[in-house]
Every structure is written in C-alpha cells, then in structure tokens.
C-alpha cells in the first residue's frame, strides 16, 4: 500500500536536510527515557511543586520541635498525643518518641499520611493530564506525536517518582530532626521487643516504602480523574474529597464491612512493621489493595484517554 512510502523509507532523508549532522541509531528506550526525564524536570523544576515539597518537609521539622518543647525532659512519661485520633495507635508512637528519636519518622508519616501527603500527590496527579489540557499543550504533545498510551505511562511514572520523593523527604527530615532532638539507640517496638538501631532503621525504610506504595495508588486515582477534565484544580479537589471521604467512611463503625475495600483503609497498617513478629498478613493485604487500586485506575485513565476527543 501507499502507506509504506512514508514509513521507514522517509527516515533517511531526515538528517541530511538538517545541517548534515550524523545520526547514529538510537535505541527507543533512550528516547522514552528522554521524555520521562523531561517530564520529571517539568514537575521538579516548577516553582509551585518545589514550594509544595518544601512545605511537606517543614511538617516533620515542626512536629519534632513541637514535641520536644511540649515534653522537654520526661523520659518514659509524657501525655502522649492528645490531638491524634488516627487509627494507627499514633498515641503509642508518641510515647515511644521520648525514648527514641527514630520514632519521629513514624509519627510524621502517620500524621502526614492523613492529608498532607495525599494532597501533595493529588496536586501533581490532578494536574498531570488536566493541566496539559488546560494549557492546550496536550494537543501539541499528541500532534508531536507523543502517543497517547506512551504519554499516559510517562505521566504516571513521573507521578510515582514525585510520590516517592515526597514520602522520603518526610522520612529523611523526620529522622534527622528526631536524632538531633531526642535520644537514640536500640529501638523498642510497639510490641515491647527491643531491636538494634540498624534493625530500627531498616523498619523505617520498610514503613516509608509501604507509604510510597499507598501514595502511588493515590496517584493512579488522580491520573484517572485528571483525564476527565481540563480544569486541574477541579481534579485536585475531587481527589482530595475522595481521600477524605474514604477516611471518614472508614471511621464509621456501621460501614466496617466496606472498610477493607476503601482506598485509604490499609494506609494505617504500616504500624504492622513496628511489631515483632511483623503482621505480614495486613501488610500483604495493604499492598494488594494499593496494587489493585493503581491497576484499576490506570486502566480507567487509559480507556478514557485513548478514546476521548481532545477539545482543549
């Protein structure tokens, strides 16, 4: 057919017309990597997002300083966390902090997991497709052609990188603050066992990765919502409402049967890592839940994005 005239055959004359630069063959992976790195650059070099990460980093610092000021020298005692009503038994975490600064990481993650981290991921994921549609850059990306599926995959991977970055910022800032302000050494777990500092830090890493997985699922939900609108702020609001709504429903005893199926239900189970032995059943349940949410919502995003007219 005539189409073959335009497929591989048209490639060779491309470069001679452009200043005669030699073109060594480039593996497709490298081109995809270039697009992905450009997407990361777009996210991480944007002033708004840098500010967002800065605010996220400020929280563990302020929590650490606040707790230090509130309980200056009362090892073992302390009033716990009166303001914390989280499902993870964060109150117990607060008690442990006085004995070991490492616990500030768990406290910070438990507190920020409720709203701040999901909100940060909502901003990036809600903006991902809707923002491009709003600027009108989406039609040019597709005309380049970036490829609809390829664009969506790059967008989602970049969201995941942002979610991981935001979560690790919380952990690192909390760890540094905790170790600077509180005593540290062997870690006493929630189950009462004491493990070495190295084992404690290993658990910090596991908890952080678990939180990353939870946020990656939020990112997929955000990506899907983002493909349905060209108003980024609407998408961000919708994701936030969904997260908060899920958390509220999870607190109502009458809806307990639905609990395990809610997107936020398994977030709080990261304290399973702080017991001896680890409650692996809950951990696997949680990871399965995140994987299903991420998969289903990525598919929704794909189905929508590859079939919808781009009218912006």
């Amino acid at each position: 057919m005539s189409s073959t005239d335009f497929l591989p055959g048209a490639d060779p004359p491309v470069t001679p017309r452009l200043g005669g630069l030699p073109v060594p063959p480039i593996p497709p992976g490298q081109r995809n990597l270039r697009f992905f790195l450009n997407e990361l650059r777009l996210i991480f070099f944007r002033r708004r997002n840098q500010l967002l990460l800065g605010v996220v980093a400020l929280f563990p610092l302020l929590i650490g300083i606040g707790l230090k000021v509130a309980a200056p020298n009362s090892p073992g005692g302390g009033g716990g966390g009166p303001g914390v009503g989280g499902p993870s038994g964060a109150g117990q975490l607060f008690n442990q902090l006085a004995g070991n600064g490492v616990f500030l990481t768990f406290i910070a993650l438990a507190l920020l997991l409720v709203l701040v981290l999901p909100l940060a991921v909502a901003v990036i994921s809600g903006d991902s497709v809707a923002g491009e549609a709003g600027y009108g850059t989406l039609r040019y990306l597709l005309a380049v052609p970036a490829g609809r599926t390829r664009l969506l995959v790059v967008k989602y991977l970049a969201i995941v990188v942002f979610a991981v970055a935001a979560t690790f910022i919380v952990t690192v800032v909390a760890l540094v603050t905790g170790i600077a302000l509180f005593p540290h050494g062997p870690v006493t777990l929630l189950s009462g066992n004491t493990v070495s500092l190295t084992d404690g830090l290993w658990r910090v890493l596991l908890v952080t990765l678990y939180t990353c997985a939870a946020m990656a699922a939020v990112g997929a939900i955000g990506l899907a919502i983002s493909t349905f609108t060209e108003h980024a702020i609407g998408a961000i609001a919708a994701i936030t409402i969904l997260v908060v709504g899920s958390e509220v429903v999870d607190q109502v005893p009458q809806f307990a049967a639905a609990g395990p199926y809610l997107p936020t239900h398994w977030w709080a189970y990261f304290d399973s890592f702080l017991r001896m032995p680890m409650d692996t059943t809950s951990i696997w349940h949680g990871l399965l839940s995140f994987a299903v949410y991420a998969g289903v919502f990525f598919l929704i995003a794909w189905a929508r994005f590859t079939s919808a007219d781009v009218t912006s």
Binding site: M1, S2, S3, D5, F6, L7, A10, D11, P13, V14, T15, R17, L18, G19, L21, V23, P24, I26, P28, Q30, R31, N32, R34, F35, L37, N38, L42, R46, R47, Y135, G136, T137, R139, Y140, L141, L142, A143, V144, P145, A146, G147, R150, L151, S307, D309, V310, T311
Partner: protein
C-alpha cells in the same frame, strides 16, 4: 500542478499517494447532536499551498483536529500522507508540523525549554541534535534573542512564531496551520505570510486555514471553502476565480430587443432591469465565452441603441462571501 481530482480519487492508492491530505465523507457529529463537519472530501495535492477557508464556526478546526487524530470522526475517513488517521497517527504525525487553534505552551518555561519539551516528546528524533534543531527553528522565526525569556512574557506575535517554530523542529512533509494570523497585527500577518512562502519554497505542502480570504489569497495555490460543515468549493485558486462568471450590463431603451440578441448569442441568465429597480432600462447576462466587442456589435447590428455597456467580474472576496454566506450562519 495537478488538479485535485474528485474525492473518489483517494480510493485508488496511486492517486492517494499524490495527495498530502485526503478525506472521504469525513463527518463529525458532536455529542449534543450538532453536525460540525458534514461529509467533507478533502484533496490536498502534494506540494501545494492549500487555503482552507470558511467563516468562524464552519467546521475548519474540527476538521483539522480529526486530520491530526486529536478528535475521532463520527464517520468517514482521512489520510495524511497516505496513512490512515487516526489509527496510524503515530506513524505519520512526525512528518507533520501543526499549529492548531493558536499557540499553547507552558507559561512558566522559557521559549527554548518549551520547544525542548515538545522535542523530548518526539520518539523519532535524535536527542543529540536537539540543541541544533531548536536553535535553527528559533532562528528561522526570529526568536533567537528571546529564547531564554519566559513564555508568559512573550507578545502575541512571538507566541505565534514560537508555535510555528515548534512545527519546524524537524523536517516535515506537511505543515498544518490553523488560523496562523489570528490576532496578529498587519506586520505580524506579513511575517507569517513570508514564513508560509519560505516553507512552501522548500517543497513542503502547507495546509493553512483562515476566515479571511485576503490573508491566504496571495500565497495559496489551492483553496477549499467550508460553509456550515460542508466543503462548498475545492480546487486551484484560478478555478475559483473562473467560477465567478463575468456579467455584461447593457444600458438601453430597447430592453426587449437586447434580450433577443442576448438569446441569439446564447448568453446565460439574462435579467432585465437593475436588481431591485423595476422599470430600469438595463439588461444583464453572464458573458460566458462571448467577447464584449461581439455583443456590442451584434446589439448595434440589431438596431439596439446602446447607451452604455459594462463588464463586471466579481472580486474573489465577493465569490468567497457568495460561497460562505454573509455574516454568521447558525442554521445547524
């Protein structure tokens, strides 16, 4: 220049290969039921500068969106450079530069970074030549000095030129420009026109839409005219001029006799009296192939006292308005 044949020409591969854009009964009905594009059969020859004309809202942009695979047709089909759209969009769009419904860039990035963004999204270019290609494209549209400036500080003309530059990031076989002069001052309009000429001089097919005939008239070889979703004319520009038949107007006291002479000469569409003025002593008809000298001689020979004789050809603008209708048309 080959004349774009009738739409069914795209059915044969040989003919389709000569067409940069070919569509068959391309139709788009919006979800609300509005018929935006109605059985449009485009035939844009390779190497032509094709002016896609029509008033605002006549379906030009929707057609372009379907050609680029941004919107899916309700029915009908389209081919870009012989490749079916939108199914094989990614195979052919790298040979097509486009400007759709005005420029769109990231306001917080510089002009250079904006082009780098679109270039990075292109999976079939060499990343190592990116700097060279972006620099060349910016130079070509005269934005080298503003390369590091944030896009949000660009003037409208600069934005438009940056959009054209993004279409020139790599060699193309076809450039689609949707209203490239929209919102530009006369100087900017001239710059864009000069760019279109340059691009066409390189042998690239240019498909340029406009709601102003005068803007594209000087650069186009072919035109297509849209009216309320339908393609009402398509062909080489001289053919459009020819469709505007010249009319002869004779001023005489003996209108009846003059009408007989007109009939004898076979002049089409005779009409006595100036339009809207009953009892006027003029008669007009389409001149056709007859020469005004012969008509005059025949009239005098038949004893018709000719007081005045004039031949008028409608301007291209008149033809255009005749095709597209006056002012807004919201029939659909």
């Amino acid at each position: 220049m080959t004349t774009p044949a009738t739409p069914d020409a795209s059915a044969t591969p040989a003919a389709a290969a000569d067409l940069a854009i070919a569509s068959t009964a391309l139709t788009k009905r919006f979800r609300g039921g509005q018929l935006a594009v109605d059985h449009v059969d485009l035939a844009v020859p390779q190497g032509s500068v094709y002016g896609f004309l029509g008033p605002n809202g006549s379906g030009k942009t929707t057609t372009i969106r379907m050609l680029l695979g941004l919107a899916y047709p309700t029915s009908g089909s389209a081919e870009l450079l012989g490749v079916a759209m939108p199914d094989h969009a990614t195979e052919v769009l790298d040979k097509v530069g486009s400007l759709v419904e005005g420029p769109a860039f990231y306001p917080y990035l510089s002009g250079w970074d904006n082009l780098a963004r679109y270039d990075a999204a292109d999976r079939s270019v060499n990343p190592r030549t990116a700097k060279h290609r972006i620099g060349t494209a910016m130079e070509r549209v005269g934005l080298t000095a503003a390369a590091k400036k944030k896009y949000r500080h660009y003037s409208l003309g600069m934005k438009q030129r940056l959009a054209i530059a993004s279409g020139l990031l790599r060699p193309r076989d076809l450039i689609i420009l949707d209203e490239p002069t929209n919102g530009l001052d006369p100087q900017g309009t001239r710059e864009v026109r000069a760019l279109v000429r340059q691009i066409a001089a390189d042998g690239i097919t240019v498909f340029v839409s406009s709601h102003l005939l005068a803007e594209v008239e000087q650069v186009c070889t072919h035109v297509g005219v849209m009216r309320t979703g339908r393609l009402v004319f398509q062909g080489p520009l001289p053919e459009l001029r020819r469709t505007g038949a010249a009319r002869i107007t004779v001023h005489t006291a003996d209108v009846e006799m003059a009408a007989k002479v007109f009939a004898k000469l076979g002049l089409a569409d005779p009409a006595a009296g100036a339009p809207g003025v009953p009892g006027d002593d003029t008669i007009t008809a389409e001149l056709g192939d007859a020469s005004p000298e012969i008509v005059c001689a025949e009239l005098v020979h038949a004893g018709v006292g000719v007081r005045g004789l004039a031949v008028e050809s409608p301007s291209l603008e008149d033809l255009f308005v005749g095709l597209t209708g006056e002012g807004f048309d919201v029939e659909h």
